[in-house]
Amino acid sequence: MSEQLDVRPAAQPETVLDIDDLEVSFATDAGEVRAVRGVSLDVKAGEVVAVVGESGSGKTVTAKTILGLLPETATSSGAVVIKGQNVVSITAAKLRELRGRDVAMVFQEPSTALNPVFTVGWQIMEGIRAHRARQGGGGEGHRVGRKEARERAIEALRKVGIPDPEKRVDYYPHQFSGGQKQRVVIAAALALDPELIVADEPTTALDVTVQAEILELLRDLRDLYGTSIVLITHNMGVVADLADRVVVMYQGEVVEEAPVRKLFAEPREDYTRQLLAAVPHLGRDSASEGATERLHQGGEVLVEAKGLEIVYPGRLGSPAFRAVEGVSFTVSAGEVFGLVGESGSGKTTIGRTIAGLNRATGGSLKVLGHEMVGFRERSFRPLRKEIGFVFQDPAASFNPQLTIGECVAEPLVVHLRPQPAQLRRRVGELLESVQLPASYASRYPHELSGGQRQRASLARALALEPRLLVADEPTSALDVSVQAKVLELFREIQAELGFAALFISHDLAVVDQLSHWVGVLYKGRLVEQGIGSRVMNNPQDAYTKRLIASLPVPDPVQQAERRVAHRALLGG
């Protein structure tokens, strides 16, 4: 069914958005920042144009310009023409009329894009009532009454598939799940029947399964109502799944523009090629490629969980929360254990418990032979030098007041108390082992890029040559290209030093790339575990199946097939 979409009726598609030579720059402390430089692109009616590019390449700025939402510090030139009006130079009143009615926006984080203290209906109605009704011939319509606005809001909610919209229209945002919130945001955008929707990373904050639903919804919008969509994303899978045409941005400029299949099949620019190469691809480059049985089985068992249960105590009257329940697994020396699962499934909780940051409350968890249920910090502390931990957000895991050198040296200082000269040498070695120049030791964390910081973080975790490393989403804060390099480094070092690792990620492809053995966590339970490539290719558990089916692969052809194949699974 989606096949036919690519063969669109050739009835002279009207241009709904025409950006011409757009320049945007910001006044900042450090001088002028040119965020967008001479971007030109156009969107036809009923077309989905994806804008991709690494972080900071100017995607969001471009999107905001379309709605005239740039902050006051920005200056822009060029033309952004919507319905014959140039947004860049239009009056404020005209701009307000245009917003919402001709072009609407969908935000990245549905939870922050909805005002927590107003009902969703009120928020949708705000947009409707801010405009005069559209009356066929384009003449100015009447002000929309409260009642009519409400009806339209309900209608919009129904369109995006919110069940029971008559009732739900009076709900507050916190009464919806994350995916539903994003639907509400889309409903608010739809309420005025705009011809163009600008969606800035509409699924980035969502789990893959939910992402799949939202992508489906967006596709329906385009198909059923002919709405054009500017889709901003850095996820190549999403692009492959939804886009008709792709615009690649790099450092504020458009480097390449092509229909989606052409771009994936034969990227013209070097940059595009690099970008595509860096995208992890499920089923490619698996660490357990070809393995038939669990590797490192014979090694010493470093972590052993049996019926592990972790409960967060409730505060002040709220009931305790059971985050992990009846989980059993082992991690042997030298093995990389990949833990996947969607948000809130308990991955981090398990990782932190192994590192002694959380309390295990039931079952049994042995870490390096030490029972963690009811553990005492004092008796566990000597074991800490055997365990390394890499945090998700490299920026946050360094004390901003200390230099990288001081941070990396800390484990050495705490456990070994070496001579200063010795210490300096060791810090230099460590930094070099993660491919950072030793001179970086004197830099402060904010003076490093995200990828460099994560390397330093790895260096710190490895300083004492631990036997076990817990890495909690070590790359999810990074751009794909950077992520690829860090993952590569991780893999090399692991192979070289042979430590065991618990590798946590929500990205199946990433986990598969690194792990010998994979566990799938769902609502605190380990629903499936097995050799990485097997789990990915041949999932057994229903949830795992759905998870894998939801994951869009960065290849439009393959993805179209997968979509057809999995439609039944995803419908549920």
């Binding site: 919402g100 203290v117 947009g127 507050y172 945001v185």
Partner: protein, 362 residues
């Protein structure tokens, strides 16, 4: 005097409302919050008790300049102020638990009666001042936030700082000079003119809040008299607080104005005015109310200077007087009342915040 630090109670370890969101009962939270009032009061009472004993005794304060030391000592002994301090302390606690707050030492009135009399005066002043503060502070804060870093913002912020930076007795003096002495529009001090005061106190069941009493007795002349007396103190104290409110509204509004949901509203074509007054204001209201509640509670105790400047015979004023007289009974009584007010206000603020914030509503 602590007006400017707007740390909300959340920062102070009283379980934050965030805890409520986790799914616990709001009721439980509120009950615990309510129960916390008691240790707080106990601590306050204890602190006041011991501090006051350190500072001396009421007899020396009253007669130290007249009596020989041995007579003084004898009188102190007779009054029982030289007994072991713990004995006095536990006796005092015992009295409090039975609801007996005693009689003031320096002017011999039942503490409860004294609290009612002066409490109502302070309450009236506080209400007036809060009205001024709200009328002035909130709209100006909105304007400042909306026009941030433009000239109006700068002017308003300077105004806010000045209204805070001018010691209230200095501001009061200037107000008196201009409006009473030079223009002759308003009375200098006091809560009402003599005749009104006599008329209002001879009512059957006075509330002690003069404008209310005047209205209830239908005495409009008295009402206007009372109001004309109320204006200057309300301005002096109200502007001081208005400065804090302005700042508070501005800061929080700027915070919410930068939020995605405001941007989302804007992207739907909602006007800037509505964005400020509805979309951004209501979420900002929750922290604003929290801090305002604290402010209002503090206002009651912090009105010492205003009350002294304007002869407004209220708790703050009396507190200073009793303190000079080392009248521990009275000081303890006032502090207990203030503690209760602060705690109860915080409690009410929580409930109000809960009503505004749908996430904590059940």
């Amino acid at each position: 005097m602590t007006a400017l630090i707007e740390t909300p109670p959340e920062a102070a370890g009283v379980p934050a409302p965030a805890a409520k969101r986790k799914g616990g009962g709001l009721a439980t939270y509120l009950i615990i919050r309510f129960l916390l009032i008691f240790p707080t009061i106990l601590i306050l009472v204890t602190m006041v008790f011991f501090l006051m004993r350190i500072t001396g005794d009421p007899i020396t304060a009253a007669l130290g300049g007249r009596l020989p030391a041995d007579q003084l000592a004898q009188r102190i002994h007779e009054a029982g102020y030289d007994r072991p301090i713990m004995v006095q302390y536990f006796q005092y606690l015992g009295q409090i638990f039975t609801g007996n707050f005693g009689r003031t030492i320096s002017d011999n009135r039942a503490v409860t009666e004294m609290l009612a009399t002066f409490g109502s005066a302070t309450l009236e002043l506080a209400i007036n001042a809060v009205v001024v503060a709200l009328i002035v502070g909130i709209p100006l804060g909105m304007i400042a936030a909306h026009r941030r870093d433009k000239t109006p913002d700068a002017v308003l912020r300077i105004f806010a700082i000045l209204s805070y930076a001018t010691p209230v007795f200095f501001a009061g003096l200037l107000l008196k000079l201009v409006f009473s002495v030079w223009l002759g529009w308003l009375p200098v001090a006091g809560r009402a003119s003599t005749s009104t005061e006599i008329a209002l106190t001879s009512l059957a069941q006075p509330t002690g809040i003069y404008w209310l009493d005047a209205l209830r007795s239908g005495n409009m002349a008295a009402f206007w008299d009372v109001e004309s007396h109320a204006i200057l103190p309300a301005l002096a104290l109200g502007l001081l607080t208005a400065g804090v409110f302005l700042r508070l509204v501005r800061t929080n509004l700027i915070g919410t104005l930068g939020r995605d949901y405001v941007e989302a509203g804007r992207s739907r074509g909602v006007s800037e005015f509505r964005l400020v007054t509805r979309h951004a204001y209501k979420p900002a209201l929750i922290p604003i109310i929290t801090v305002m509640g604290l402010q209002i509670a503090l206002l009651l105790g912090g009105a010492v200077l205003t009350e002294t400047t304007f002869e407004w015979k209220g708790l703050g004023f009396q507190l200073a007087q009793y303190l000079t007289a080392r009248d521990f009974v009275a000081v303890q009584g006032i502090v207990v009342l203030l503690a209760v007010i602060v705690a109860v206000t915080n409690f009410i603020v929580d409930v109000v915040a809960a009503l505004i914030d749908p996430r904590v509503r059940y």
